[in-house]
Symmetry: C2
Subunit: 675 residues, 2 copies
C-alpha cells in the first residue's frame, strides 16, 4: 500500500529479535507513552514486560537532569540498553534513534542528544479538495474525498452550507506518516495550505474542527503539535463581521473565541500559520494596519493557551512592472518587516524563506535572518521540489540547506552569527524559533514520487534535530536505513548519485544564482525568458553584452545594504562576490572572468554540458542496481532518470542556445550549440 521509507519494518523486526522491552514512567502515562508501547508491540512486535529485570531494553520516562524535555540518552548497562528522558516524547525520540543506530551500526553505548532547533515543523500545502499545491507525489494524504469542487469558488459557500467532509480518514497512512515525522524528531505540522481556499477557511470551526481533532490526536500520539493555516479574512467570511481589521475589538473577540474553542477540543494544538498580504491573500495592509498588528492580534487569542502564531514574511509586490528597475523583490521581506523588529508578541514567530526570492537552485541568505534582532524567526525550507525538478529529477537538496544554515550573517560574533544560531540569539522566546519546511509526500506508493526524494524529507528532519550534521552523514544514514539490502558497493552507487545531484541540477538549470528561467507557473523545464517580462519580479536582464541583476548599492537596487557590513561589502564588490550567486548580485559581461579563470559564458556552456553528462552517468550507475534493490524502487528511479535526462538536455540546449544567440561567443571546446 505504501512503502517503508527509512523504517524498514521487516528488517527492523528481524534485527530486534531477542529484544525485550520495559517502559517505566515516573508520572502518569500520557498518549505518547501509550504510543511508545504500541510501537514496541505492534510496529516491532517485541515483547513488552512489566518486570524491568526481564527486559533488555529499558525505556525510562522521568525526571532526568537534562535541561531539555526533548533530550534523550541511550546507554548500555550490562546487557541492557537504557533509553531515558524527561518526557514520553523525549524517550520516543530515543527509541527511534535506537532503531536508526541498529540499522546504521552506530554505537549506542553512550549517547546524549538534544534537538538543535525548538520548532521542527513541516507545512502541508494540501487543499481540502485533496490536491496539493506544488505537490509532485499524488494527492493529499490528509484530504481527498470531495474532488475538485471546493477549490474554484472559495467565496460562495462555507461548510455549513454543504455538510461535506473533506478528510481522507486513512488512519493507517496517517499513523505511518506521523511515525516518519517523529522518527526524525519533527514536532509540528501545519495540515492545510497557507493559501487557504474553499473549506480550508472553515477548518477552525465546527464541524470541521472535530475532524481536525481526529488528525491532531494521531499526531499528538507522536509528540507532534498540529497547526492550522488560517484565512486572515475569516472574521468577515465566516464570522459575519463587516471587517477583519486586526485592531477592531469585535475581530479580536472573534479570534479569541475561536482559539478558546479549538483548545477546548485540542489542548496541545500548536497554533496558526498565516500568509497575509501576499500574492493576493488578504492581510492587515488592507485595513491600514501593519504585520505586527495582524500577528499580535492572533497571538493575543492564542496566548492564554500557549499557542504560537507563525507569520510568513513572504510579502512582496507580485504585480510588479518588469520595466520598473527600481523595485527589487529581493528587498521586499526586509523592507516590509525590519521596521517591525521588536514589536511582535513573544508567541509570534516570523517564518522567513531561507533566500530572499523563492527556493531557487542557488540563493544568498535572506537578510531578515540575523537582520531581525528582537523577533522570533523560523527559517522556511521547501522539501517539495517546486523549482528543483518536481521529484522527477534526482535532487538531494540537503547540501544546499546545510550551506544556508551555516551562512555567517555577521550579526553576532563567531558561531553565534551563523544563520542556524543567530535566530536563537535574536529571539524573544528561543522556544519559538526553528526550521519549517513544505513537505513532499502524497498518495504515491513511495510517498515522494521519486524514491530518492525521500532523502530530502529525512534530511530535513535530521537537520532540524542536529544542525551540526553534514549532508554526507545524513545521506549515509538514509541509505543505510532505506536500502539495508545493499552492500557497500551498492550503497556507494546511491551515494554517488545523491551526493552530486544538487550540484548537477544547478549545473543544467539557471546559472550563477540568477534564478528562474523556468516555465511560468508550472516551474518544471526551461523557459529562459519565461518570467522576464512578467509581474513576479524575477528577471535575468540578459542582453547582447551581459546578464545578471545589479543589486549593489553603488549602481543597483541597493539590496546588498540589507546585510551586515562585512557581508554587504563582500557581495557589493564583483571581485569578492561568490561565483555561485554572482548573477544574483551583479550584471556582468559574458566575458567576465570567474574565480576559477573561466568566463561567465564559458561557465554557462561548461556547466550545462557537464550537467547532462552527469545525468547520463546516473542512468548508467543506477542500472547497476537492477535486481539488487526491490524492483519497484529500481523501476521508479529508472523511469524518473529517463525523464530527467530528457529535461536536462532541454535545459542545456535552450540555455546554451539562448546565450549563444545573445553573446555570439562560441564554446571554446566546439561542442554542439544549436544556432
Amino acid at each position: 500500500m505504501f512503502d517503508d521509507m527509512w523504517l524498514p519494518q521487516e528488517t527492523l523486526r528481524s534485527l530486534m529479535e531477542g529484544r525485550v522491552f520495559h517502559v517505566a514512567s515516573s508520572g502518569p502515562e500520557d498518549r505518547t507513552c501509550v504510543r511508545l508501547r504500541t510501537e514496541i508491540i505492534e510496529f516491532l512486535r517485541c515483547p513488552l514486560v512489566g518486570d524491568a529485570s526481564q527486559a533488555n531494553v529499558l525505556l525510562r520516562i522521568g525526571d532526568t537532569a537534562f535541561d531539555s524535555d526533548e533530550a534523550y540518552t541511550i546507554r548500555r548497562t550490562g546487557d541492557a540498553i537504557v533509553i531515558e528522558g524527561n518526557t514520553s516524547r523525549a524517550v520516543l525520540y530515543g527509541f527511534y534513534a535506537f532503531l536508526r543506530a541498529t540499522l546504521t551500526g552506530e554505537s549506542v553505548d553512550d549517547v546524549y542528544s538534544a534537538p538543535s532547533q525548538a520548532i521542527r515543523m513541516v507545512d502541508h500545502w494540501d487543499q481540502t479538495d485533496g490536491s496539493v499545491e506544488r505537490g509532485y507525489s499524488g494527492a493529499s494524504i490528509l484530504f481527498g474525498t470531495l474532488g475538485e469542487d471546493t477549490w474554484e469558488d472559495p467565496g460562495n459557500f462555507t461548510v455549513h452550507d454543504r455538510g461535506m467532509d473533506p478528510f481522507r480518514h486513512d488512519r493507517a497512512r496517517l499513523v505511518a506518516y506521523a511515525r516518519f515525522l517523529a522518527s526524525v524528531g519533527l514536532n509540528a505540522v501545519a495540515i492545510n495550505n497557507v493559501n487557504v481556499r474553499g473549506l480550508g477557511a472553515s477548518l477552525i470551526e465546527h464541524p470541521l474542527i472535530e475532524q481536525v481533532k481526529e488528525v491532531a490526536d494521531v499526531f499528538d500520539e507522536f509528540g507532534i503539535a498540529t497547526y492550522l493555516s488560517v484565512f486572515f479574512g475569516a472574521p468577515r467570511r465566516l464570522g459575519g463581521l463587516d471587517t477583519s481589521d486586526p485592531l477592531d475589538p469585535r475581530v479580536r473577540a472573534w479570534w479569541a473565541a475561536k482559539a478558546d474553542a479549538i483548545y477546548a477540543l485540542i489542548p496541545r494544538f500548536g497554533g496558526f500559520l498565516v500568509k497575509a498580504d501576499s500574492e493576493g491573500e488578504p492581510g492587515p495592509y488592507q485595513y491600514g494596519r501593519d504585520h505586527a498588528d495582524g500577528a499580535n492580534m492572533l497571538a493575543e487569542a492564542l496566548a492564554p493557551h500557549g499557542g504560537t502564531v507563525i507569520w510568513r514574511a513572504f510579502v512582496y509586490n507580485s504585480s510588479q512592472d518588469w520595466r520598473d528597475r527600481g523595485t527589487d523583490r529581493a528587498r521586499a521581506a526586509f523592507d516590509n518587516f525590519k521596521a517591525l523588529d521588536g514589536r511582535f508578541a513573544p508567541n509570534v514567530a516570523l517564518q522567513v524563506k531561507f533566500g530572499p526570492i523563492d527556493f531557487q537552485n542557488c540563493e544568498p541568505l535572506n537578510t531578515l535572518i540575523g537582520g531581525m534582532e528582537r523577533t522570533n524567526v523560523v527559517i522556511e525550507f521547501e522539501i517539495t521540489a517546486e523549482y528543483l525538478g518536481h521529484q522527477i529529477d534526482v535532487n538531494y537538496s540537503v547540501p544546499q540547506w546545510i550551506r544556508m544554515i551555516n551562512t555567517d550573517t555577521g550579526r553576532e560574533p563567531g558561531e553565534e552569527g551563523l544563520a542556524k544560531n543567530v535566530i536563537r540569539a535574536h529571539a524573544v522566546d528561543a522556544g519559538r524559533t526553528g526550521f519549517a519546511a513544505v513537505q513532499n509526500v502524497g498518495m504515491d506508493r513511495n510517498w515522494t514520487g521519486n524514491k530518492l526524494a525521500q532523502a530530502n524529507f529525512y534530511g530535513f528532519g535530521r537537520m532540524c534535530w542536529d544542525d551540526e550534521l553534514d549532508a554526507g552523514r545524513i545521506l549515509d544514514e538514509w541509505i543505510a536505513q532505506t536500502f539495508p539490502v545493499l552492500d557497500g558497493e551498492g550503497r556507494s552507487i546511491v551515494r554517488a548519485i545523491q551526493a552530486t545531484s544538487n550540484q548537477t541540477y544547478i549545473d543544467y538549470t539557471a546559472p550563477l544564482g540568477v534564478g528562474f528561467m523556468t516555465v511560468p507557473h508550472y516551474h518544471y523545464g526551461p523557459s529562459v525568458d519565461g518570467y522576464e517580462y512578467d509581474r513576479w519580479g524575477t528577471y535575468h536582464f540578459a542582453d547582447r553584452d551581459g546578464v545578471g541583476v545589479d543589486r549593489t548599492q553603488a549602481t543597483g537596487t541597493g539590496y546588498t545594504a540589507q546585510y551586515a557590513p562585512a557581508l554587504a561589502a563582500r557581495y557589493e564588490d564583483v571581485a569578492t562576490a561568490p561565483d555561485e550567486t554572482l548573477l544574483f548580485f551583479h550584471h556582468v559581461p559574458y566575458t567576465h572572468v570567474l574565480h576559477d579563470g573561466t568566463s561567465v559564458i564559458q561557465h554557462i556552456y561548461d556547466t550545462h554540458f557537464r550537467g547532462v553528462e552527469n545525468v547520463r552517468g546516473y542512468v548508467e550507475q543506477w542500472d547497476r542496481l537492477r535486481g539488487r534493490i526491490p524492483d519497484e524502487d529500481f523501476d521508479n528511479v529508472n523511469e524518473r532518470l529517463g525523464r530527467q535526462l530528457a529535461s536536462a538536455i532541454e535545459w542545456r540546449d535552450q540555455i546554451n542556445t539562448f546565450f549563444y544567440r545573445m553573446s555570439g561567443i562560441p564554446d571554446e571546446q566546439g561542442r554542439t550549440i544549436h544556432r
Copy 2:
C-alpha cells in the same frame, strides 16, 4: 437578449412601412419559401398578400434564365420592386439584399447578383460541453447544458452510457443566427469542433443525430446545409470494430451505414468535416494509408446522397524539435498533399488555411492554393480572433483576407491565377470549392464579444458572395446597417478606426511576417520567445545579429520552391521579397534596409511606437461617439479599447526591449525603450 448585428429590426420595420409583399412560386413551396413568408410577416411585420396587384414588393421563385440557382435579380417595375430567382434560397438572398440596400441607400433599380464562391461556410469549434475552442464571445450558442464533464475524458464513454443531451435548444437564438448567415449569403455550417471530443463523436448516430436534425432543420429553412465534424477513429470508438483503417471493408460499410441513416433523417445534410493526422487527432497515417484513402472512404459513403467531405490540409509535425532546422512547418501541407493531387474523389474538398502556418497577422499564401491542380479546394479563414486580439483588440481583418484571395498564384494566366479564382479553375467539381471560416459568435449579448468584431463575420460572408468587393466597401455597408443612427461624421469615426485596425494590430505585434511571439496556448499578449524553443515549428531565430526564418532554396528550408516560378523567384530574393513578409522568408541583419529606406530594427521600433499611438487615437476617437450610439455598444467597445491599449503597450515594450537587448541598436528618435 441579443443584439441585432447588421439587421436592426426596429429600423427595418419603420423603413419598410408601406411595403406590401407578395410571394409567388412556380413549383411546390419548400421550407425556405415558408421561411421567406415568415420573415415578411414576423421579422418585418409587413403585410403579405395573395393578390400580386396589391403588393409593391414581389418575390418570384421560379424558372429564370439564370445559370445559378443562387442568383437573384432586384428590379424596379413601376412602383413595385421585383425580386426573382430560380429557387426559394436565391429569392431569400435577394430579399436580404433588398433590406441591405434599404439601409445603405444603394440602388435596387437593376440588380443582378450571383455568388462568387460555391461553398460559403462557417465552422463552429464548439464543444458539446458548451465551450468554444478559440472562442472569445462566451459559451456556445449551439451546445451548453452539460457543463465541463464531457470534455476531459473522451475515451471513456459514449452517449449511450450517459443519455445526455448536450444541445442548448435556444431556438430563438438559433433562428437569429441562421438569419445572419443567410443575410450575407452563407450556405453551409459545421456545427461541432474539428477536434472531436466527448459526445462530439456521437453526434453522427442515434440518439444525438435526432437533435442534430432539430438544428439542421432550422439552418435548412435559411438554405444552409449542416455539416458535422467527424472523428476519424469512430469505427473503433463507436462501432466496436478493431480498426478504423479506411481500406477495411467493414470500416467502409460502417461509414456508409452512418451516412445512409443521417440522410434518411436530414435529406439536405451537407457532409463531413475532418481533421485527421493533425495535432494528435487520429487519421489514415496510423494505418499506413494516405489522406486520399481517408477522404475517399468518407466520400464513397456520402456520394449516393450528394454529400461532401471537407478534409483539412492542416497536417504538420506538431512535435517538432526546435533544434531541427531542416523541418519547416510551412512546407508541411504541400509536402503532405501535393503528391495526392488528382486522387481525391469529386465530392472531396481539401480545406486549406490561407497561409502556410496558422492565421498569423501576416502570412504569404498557402502553396496548396493553386498548387493543387486537380483537386477541389476550400480556402479556410479564421473569423474568431485567435491570433488577432481575441476580440478584445479592435481588428477588422477583412483587408487581410481580401489581400490573400487576390494574391496571384501564377498558376494560371491573368485573373484566373488569383487565389479566389484558381481554386475554381483547378477544381474537379467547381461546385465544391469556396471559402470557409471559423466563426466568432457566442452567448455574449452582442454575439462577438466586441461589437466591432461583428464586422468580420459580416465581411467574411460578403466576401464569399462577392469576391470583387473591397474591404472599404464592405466596411461602409456594415457601418450603415449596424449604426443607422449615426450621421456621416459619426460613421467616419467608426470607419477610421476599423479601416486601420488590422494594420495597427500588425504594427504592435510580431513584425514583418515573422509570426507568433505570443503567449503559448493562450495566444493573447506578447511572449517573444514563447514558442521559440517549443515543439510547434514556429520560430523567429532572433540572435544578436538578426532575425527571421530562411525559407529560401539557396540557403534555407526551400519552402519558396513550392510556389510557381515567378512567385518563387520573388520570394527567394531578399531584394524583391515583399517587406510585410520579409522575416517569413529571410533571416536578415537588423541593419537590413527595407524598401522604404528604414532598417529592420528601426522599422520594429517605429511600428511598435506607432501602433500604440494609433490605439490611443482610437480611444479618443471612440469617446466622441458617447451618447450617439446605444450605451451598451459604446461601453462595450470603450472597455475593450482600454484593454487593447494596455495590451498594445505591453507588446510594444516587450518587443522593443527584446530587440534592443539583442541588437544593442538604439531608436533613432530616442524614444523610451526599456533596457
